[in-house]
């Protein structure tokens, strides 16, 4: 990632989400290229923005957001 124009993002996640990140990083890694959890987060941000930009999955996303493990409010 280019050195300029960076921001530090802090997010509290559950142990289970941390495990999902680790597993996803492993699944995307190969013997030639290890993928970090930070790379997975940046990829996930780009991916969800693209899908919403296409108007896809809005209702599905809103439903997932209501789960305890994602909402700020529980």
């Amino acid at each position: 990632m280019p050195k300029k124009e960076r921001k530090r993002l802090q997010v509290v996640i559950s142990d289970e989400q941390d495990a999902l990140l680790t597993r996803t990083a492993y699944e995307l890694s190969s013997p030639e290229r290890l993928i970090s959890k930070s790379e997975v987060v940046r990829l996930a941000i780009e991916k969800i923005a693209r899908e919403l930009g296409e108007g896809a999955h809005m209702d599905e996303y809103r439903a997932i957001l209501e789960s305890d493990d994602i909402s700020d409010e529980s």
Copy 2:
């Protein structure tokens, strides 16, 4: 999110990714329910793990990971 079993995740993101997060949070928000950027990140982590769990989009994800804005290595 339940109080127990939390981890603090720190990720460096680009200004553009920060703007994508803000826009996505806005698009998922409604007059009844404001969505935070943290909620979007947790949703995005769950979503990408689900898709990969189904074996979907692996090649697409690997290609996106090579872009400067996501890779750790540039």
